[in-house]
């Protein structure tokens, strides 16, 4: 198992390096001069060159990359052009917020989606199945930012039960005020993965139940609950990887939701970095998010190998 893990880790290195190159190049491929937004409109050519040198933009690209990577490895992602604060701090805070939102949404979506999917798969082609699938399809196809706005109108504007914006005043704390800010964005964010997880689970459960060995399990005298245990263990590896991928989407795919709810996470940070042409910030955020995906994939692979004996571990 350890060997398997180390080998997977080894595979990850070139991927991570590739990711970093792409992130670095992003800034140089993006149209426009990264400095326009910070430079005075009437800056002289000399001032421009000085600024360029200050940000290291005058050196050849490979050198710039080497310097950038060297610093990035030490946790120095440069300074945000717009705020002047270290990018690493900004990204760190945003990642923490996004993680919190993603986990809250997962905590809702995975158990609900899994239960719904199991119900539908177990009672395949019955009214339960049809009901669950209608819910799942609605969840996947409703535009979720629209749903977010509807929820805000109902629960914040009309009923006044829940806050609509931000993550609460001051630093995050595990108290009712701060947690109440988490509710609406988490619910909104959970809707799509509920649908996706439910559909996948239904297909998986249906597939396993139709396999010969299930009949063989009944033939040897197991009761329905024992058989269900076998089915769960068979579904688990694939189910887990689907949830891993969903968690990844939740982390990176919530730009719209974070914007709708003003949630100070990575999505929110990304959109403001884009609109302010804050390239170091953009670069740093994308790098961290991309590496997150890579690590998450690694974690899912390893977890899958740990619970699925059919995956070669040596």
């Amino acid at each position: 198992m350890l060997v398997y893990f180390l080998r997977r880790l080894l595979y990850v290195c070139p991927v991570a390096l590739g990711v970093s190159i792409i992130c670095f190049m992003l800034v140089h491929i993006a149209p426009g001069d990264p400095l326009t937004s910070v430079m005075a409109v009437d800056a002289t050519a000399q001032e421009q060159a000085a600024m360029r040198a200050a940000y290291g933009l005058d050196k050849p690209l490979p050198t710039q990359y080497a310097i950038w990577l060297g610093k990035a490895v030490q946790g120095d992602l440069g300074k945000s052009i717009a705020s002047g604060r270290p990018v690493a701090d900004e990204v760190g805070r945003a990642v923490k917020n996004s993680l919190m939102l993603a986990f809250a949404a997962s905590l809702l979506a995975f158990p609900i989606g899994t239960s719904l999917g199991f119900l539908a798969g177990y009672f395949r082609d019955s009214w339960v199945d049809r009901l669950v699938m209608s819910i799942a399809i609605a969840g996947v196809s409703l535009p979720n930012y629209w749903l977010g706005i509807v929820l805000v109108i109902i629960f914040s504007v009309t009923l006044g039960w829940l806050p609509a914006m931000g993550a609460g005043a001051g630093d995050w704390a595990w108290d009712l005020t701060h947690l109440s800010h988490l509710v609406l964005p988490a619910v909104t964010l959970a809707v799509v993965p509920i649908g996706i997880v439910a559909r996948t689970m239904r297909a998986l459960v249906g597939e396993i139940y139709s396999m010969d060995f299930v009949q063989a399990l009944y033939a040897k005298g197991l009761e329905p609950l024992d058989v269900l245990r076998h089915v769960i263990r068979n579904v688990a590896p694939t189910g887990l990887s689907v949830m891993g991928i969903q968690l990844g989407y939740l982390l990176g795919g919530s730009i719209l939701i974070e914007t709708v709810f003003n949630w100070p996470g990575t999505g929110f940070l990304l959109s403001s970095a884009i609109f302010q042409r804050d390239l170091p910030l953009l670069q740093g955020t994308i790098l961290v998010l991309a590496l997150f995906f890579v690590v998450l994939n690694l974690a899912v692979d390893v977890a899958q190998a740990a619970i699925d004996p059919r995956i070669k571990r040596s």
Partner: protein, 326 residues
């Protein structure tokens, strides 16, 4: 104890409802004694697997209409449900399937799967059950059984998996083993080994076996008695010796002439011209008539009754009546 049979099937009918209705079993009668080895022979679709699955009540209850009675050791198994049904399955009667690769759960070790059955039926602890499992692997002669106990099915060869499946099926000492083409998916040499093993274990455990096969060669190898099925019913039954020496039903003769001149193993029973009937209506006449070279007008007007041409034999064919009169 009297000589009451271990298994008694009376007038069994099985019908599937779905997009189309299938009359899979039509008025089947069969009895099996203690320690007897019966070969169940017939073309694809003749209802062999359905018969076995009905015996274990494995068919989907919603889509299946079953009537008739099945008694195992005096117990009416059609009325079993819940705990009593689970105790019966795998306890009194167990099953070995055609494809061991598909019939074992891929994510549990072979040892766990055997032990699970033992724990269920004998109410003993995990460690003890594992010892039974190990014992069983020794009995089915799997090499290095301690190691194999911890193997997953995919880590074993086909023959080894089938041995493990047999170990599982026999782990609770059933009185009746249902073997649904247990050697069809295996290589010829492995086939023989498995057959020999089954015969040996049958003697050792004193159980009865119903052995389903396409292959007359296999039936000759293993069975005391054979029953030939066609269109959901038995058309001829007798000792393997009698049937081979003197087959009566034209269908049985067709099967034998197609296969038996060199009792080749691995050949399938398909060489009779024509196709089996569709089974969409309940049979009211000889179902073999469209393919029979001896067909008479009476054959298509009523079901041919069973005639007994000798001790322990029966045949459902109108030709027998002519013989009797002659």
């Amino acid at each position: 104890m009297t000589s009451s049979p271990l298994l008694q099937i009376r007038d069994l009918n099985v019908r599937f409802h779905g997009e189309r209705t299938v009359h899979a079993i039509n008025g089947l009668n069969l009895s099996l004694g203690h320690g007897e080895m019966l070969g169940l022979l017939g073309e694809s679709g003749s209802g062999k697997s359905v018969t076995l699955k009905t015996l274990l009540r494995l068919l989907p209850p919603k889509r299946t209409m079953i009537d008739g009675s099945i008694e195992v050791n005096g117990t009416d198994i059609m009325t079993l449900s819940g705990k009593r049904l689970s105790r019966y399955r795998g306890g009194d009667v167990s099953m070995v399937f055609q494809e061991p690769a598909l019939a074992l759960d891929p994510v549990y070790t072979v040892g766990e799967q055997i032990a699970e059955t033992v724990m269920r039926h004998r109410g003993i602890g995990r460690r003890e059950a594992m010892e039974v499992a190990l014992d069983m692997l020794v009995k089915v002669r799997i090499p290095s059984p301690e190691r194999r106990l911890k193997n997953y099915p995919h880590e074993m060869s086909g023959g080894m998996r089938q041995r493990a499946m047999i170990a599982l099926a026999l782990s609770c000492r059933p009185k009746l083993l249902l073997a649904d083409e247990p050697t069809t998916a295996l290589d010829a040499t492995v086939q023989i080994q498995i057959l020999l093993l089954l015969r040996e274990l049958q003697k050792e455990f004193g159980m009865s076996i119903i052995f389903v096969t396409h292959d007359i060669g296999v039936a000759v190898e293993i069975a005391d008695r054979v029953a030939v099925m066609y269109a959901g019913n038995i058309v001829e039954e007798g000792s393997i010796h009698d049937i081979i020496r003197d087959p009566r039903h034209p269908y049985t003769r067709g099967l034998l002439s197609a296969n038996l001149h060199d009792v080749a193993r691995g050949t399938r029973l398909e060489a009779i011209p024509g196709a089996p009937p569709a089974l969409n209506i309940k049979p009211a006449s000889c179902q073999f008539a469209p393919r029979c070279a001896h067909v008479m007008p009476a054959c298509t007007s009523a079901l041919p009754p069973f005639v007994s041409p000798g001790e322990g034999r029966r045949v459902a064919c109108l030709l027998e009546r002519g013989r009797e009169l002659a």
